[in-house]
Each structure stands twice: as structure tokens, then as C-alpha cells.
């Protein structure tokens, strides 16, 4: 089967924000992003080239040394949303309120 280009999820929902003023152009976000959301921009800065490809994993925010990136990070998993709504946390599967050390399913 022919693989179509890249898989993109819903348009215009990713919460990723870049403060280009604060950016020092270290390129750490380009290294950690598994979806090629970023590219270098003129003036030793980074820019967002594919906002819709962002899966909100939070790797860029975690690794930005100057806090120029912000994203409401979380797992894009319907079961985790259900688990959170049902008040299940940690013992069975992922939940959005998981604390480090909790159990899991994924």
C-alpha cells in the first residue's frame, strides 16, 4: 500500500506557543521534537513551521533552557480521557491526573 505523506491530526487545536523574543536559537526544540514542528529562522531564532503537527508531548517545553516555549502537554489518548472522567487514576491505566510512580496501561 502506498503511504500518503505525513499523518496530521486535527487542525488548529495544538496549544503550542513560542515566545520568539525569549528564544536564543539553541535548537534544542528542533532536536527533541519528533514531528518537525520547528525550523531555524533568521536572526538566531526558531519558528513554528507546522503547528498542526504538534502532539503536545511537551518535550520542547521541558528542554527549552529559556522557557520560550509553552504547551498544555498531555497524552493524546481517548482512554486516558475516559479514565480521568470516570475518576480512575493510576491503578489501572493512564489518567490525565497521573502522578509520577503511578501504574499504567500504555
Amino acid at each position: 500500500m502506498k503511504e500518503t505523506g505525513r499523518l496530521l491530526y486535527l487542525k488548529g487545536v495544538a496549544t503550542l506557543r513560542l515566545d520568539q523574543e525569549a528564544c536564543i536559537g539553541c535548537g534544542m526544540c528542533l532536536t527533541v521534537c519528533p514531528q518537525e514542528v520547528f525550523a531555524f529562522a533568521p536572526g538566531k531564532k526558531v519558528r513554528i513551521i507546522e503547528q498542526d503537527a504538534c502532539m503536545e508531548c511537551g518535550a520542547c517545553m521541558m528542554n527549552c533552557p529559556v522557557e520560550a516555549l509553552w504547551v498544555q502537554s498531555g497524552v493524546g489518548c481517548a482512554q486516558a480521557v475516559f479514565n480521568t472522567m470516570l475518576g480512575r487514576s493510576s491503578e489501572a491505566c493512564c489518567s490525565l491526573k497521573d502522578k509520577p510512580g503511578g501504574g499504567s496501561c500504555c
Binding site: L7, P34, Q35, G74, V75, A78, V81, G102
Partner: protein, 344 residues
């Protein structure tokens, strides 16, 4: 484990880079969803080959499938492997939960006394662990610099040979047909947890209610068709949706699942219509046209958890619309199915 190597900090277990039959059997089992939560290795420091003080230190999670991927990728290399305690969860999910995180990494670096074994101060962390690790904080707290390795362990030899440089392709997480196909058994196994008991319940009920013997009652109620309909939905959601993901219409997984379900429903009806002698055919057909896509849409939506490109904001958005529709379609379908039975 193939032995131990003696080091200044004590004996370090040495692991093979070739999987034993037992490892392959274990991998097969977890791919089928059996004992997936208890497939762990002991956290700590391991040796691959005969690592020296210049050998790289590679970090991973204590899910045995992750650990096995890493050690087989290191055939012919000398390296130290530092395994964090992630409760048997893979790197990506554990990073999302924070168990594969800065604190756990720094603690394991200290506990393993790896600083006494190597001259350099570099840790190779899988790129997909980056959502739990702050490289600059690790440097501050442990003195070790984090170098993000490739997404896939199998690219490690090339990465190491190139002086720890990853190509752009190594940094990109794809979701190829084979990567999706390998997830099908576990998706199916998870769905079976409710679909099998439900099947047994429906089958049993259709046999017990009625004047004739069990099997005649099942036939009279169209129990076989009920099974076929239910499982068409399950297969559409857990097999067709993952396999056909890029070609199914829309971006939302509930929509893709629904489309796969519609295909399955049409296939089901093409067999059902000519062969079923029962009256109320049209109503039953309409019922399955609602039920099969509803089941497939729900299961397709569940596949967001296994995909490497869905965001939480997106999942919440599609769920707000899709879940009420799925429930409505399922309820209407059930109502029609019962009504069709009444007419007979």
C-alpha cells in the same frame, strides 16, 4: 544475562545482544496483550560487550521490550546501559507520566555510581524520553550532559558511529504500515475483554429464550447474525482502522473508525441480505448500519492512545462531538434491532 563484569564499583551484569527463545516468546506474549504490565527488567546498570571508561552510557526504561530493543541494537558494541525504574512502562509513555524523568535519571546516575566508571560526562537518552527530561536540569543536578539519541534504537549504531549525530530522519517519528500492524493484536485483545463476554451473553440469551431447544432458539433469533454484526464492528475498529489509517477519510480517529465501520457494515449487509430469511430485514439492516460504524468509531478513537501523532487537545475536541454521536447511533441501532425482532 550472560555473566558479570568486574568494575571499580562492583560487579555489573553483562547482557547478550542476541535474543534467546525465551525473549522472543515474551515479546510475542506482550504483543498479544498478555502480561504486558509485568514485563520488566531490574532497574540499574548493565554492560553490553566489554565497556571501558570511554564507552557511551545509554539510558532506557525497565519495560523488557524496550530493553531488548536496545540491547539487540547494540550488537558488536561496548556500552553501558542505565535502566530507570518506570514501572515496566516504555520510554515514551513513562516520559509522559514523568516516571522517565529528570529526577529518576539523576537518582539512577548517582545510585549506579556510573561517574566512577566513565571518563566522559555524557548520557545518551532516547529522543522520545525528552518529554520527561530537562537536559539542562540533568546537567545541573548530575554533572552529566544529555545527548538525545535517535527515536528508534535500531539507528543507534549509525548514531554512535557518526559521533553521536542524528540525521533528520532519525529524529522523526513515523507511523508506518508495519508499525501500525504490530499494534493490531493488542488492540484486538483489549477489545475482546468486553466483546467476548458480550458475545457469550447475547448468544446465551438468544438460546435460552424461546420455546424450542437452545440451538434452534439461537437460529430463530438470528444469533449468528448478531455475532457477525458485533464482530464486524470490532474488526473494523481494531484491525481495519490501524491498517488503513492514512487512507481513511478525515483526520479525527472517530471519523476514520466510523468510515472503516461503514465499509464493514456494507460488507456485512451484502452477505446478510441475500441469506437471511427472517422478516424485518430492512429494520435489522438499518440497525447494523448504525451499530457497526458506532462500535468501529469508538474503537478507532481508542487507537489515538497508540498513535504517535495525536494531541490531547485534539482528542478532547473529537471526543466532545464523537462520543454523543456514537452513543446515539448505538442506542438507535439497539432499539431498531429489538423492534425488528418484535415484528417477526
Amino acid at each position: 544475562m550472560i555473566g558479570k563484569i568486574l568494575t571499580p564499583v562492583g560487579p555489573v551484569p553483562q547482557v547478550a545482544t542476541v535474543l534467546a527463545g525465551r525473549d522472543r516468546w515474551g515479546a510475542l506474549r506482550v504483543r498479544l496483550g498478555l502480561g504486558r504490565m509485568q514485563y520488566t527488567v531490574e532497574p540499574g546498570l548493565y554492560a553490553v560487550g566489554a565497556p571501558q571508561e570511554d564507552s557511551p552510557v545509554l539510558v532506557t526504561a525497565n519495560y523488557k521490550l524496550s530493553f531488548d530493543h536496545l540491547r539487540t541494537a547494540l550488537a558488536g558494541q561496548d556500552a553501558w546501559v542505565l535502566v530507570l525504574d518506570t514501572n515496566g512502562i516504555n520510554v515514551w509513555c513513562a516520559a509522559g507520566k514523568g516516571t522517565f524523568g529528570t529526577a529518576a535519571l539523576c537518582a539512577q546516575v548517582a545510585a549506579s555510581r556510573v561517574a566512577q566508571l566513565v571518563r566522559h560526562r555524557r548520557l545518551v537518552v532516547p529522543q522520545l524520553g525528552a518529554s520527561g527530561i530537562a537536559a539542562h536540569a540533568v546537567k545541573q543536578q548530575s554533572g552529566f550532559a544529555v545527548v538525545y539519541g535517535p527515536v528508534m534504537a535500531r539507528h543507534l549504531p549509525e548514531f554512535l558511529a557518526c559521533g553521536m549525530q542524528a540525521t533528520q530522519a532519525m529524529r522523526r517519528k513515523n507511523f508506518s504500515l508495519s508499525e501500525r500492524a504490530v499494534l493490531v493484536p493488542v488492540e484486538l485483545a483489549i477489545a475482546c475483554k468486553w466483546a467476548l463476554p458480550l458475545s457469550a451473553l447475547l448468544y446465551g440469551a438468544s438460546g435460552l429464550f424461546g420455546p424450542a431447544s437452545f440451538w434452534e432458539n439461537v437460529r430463530a433469533h438470528g444469533g449468528g447474525w448478531t455475532m457477525a454484526g458485533l464482530w464486524s464492528g470490532v474488526v473494523a475498529g481494531t484491525v481495519l482502522t490501524p491498517l488503513l489509517l492514512p487512507v481513511l477519510p478525515g483526520r479525527a480517529f472517530s471519523l476514520k473508525g466510523g468510515a472503516a465501520g461503514l465499509m464493514a457494515a456494507l460488507a456485512f449487509l451484502s452477505v446478510f441480505f441475500p441469506r437471511s430469511g427472517v422478516s424485518g430485514n430492512a429494520l435489522t439492516a438499518l440497525a447494523w448500519l448504525l451499530l457497526i460504524p458506532a462500535i468501529a468509531s469508538f474503537l478507532g478513537m481508542e487507537f489515538t492512545g497508540a498513535s504517535p501523532y495525536t494531541s490531547l487537545s485534539g482528542v478532547k475536541k473529537e471526543m466532545r462531538l464523537a462520543v454523543p454521536l456514537q452513543v446515539a447511533a448505538a442506542l438507535c441501532g439497539l432499539f431498531l434491532l429489538v423492534w425488528a425482532r418484535r415484528l417477526q
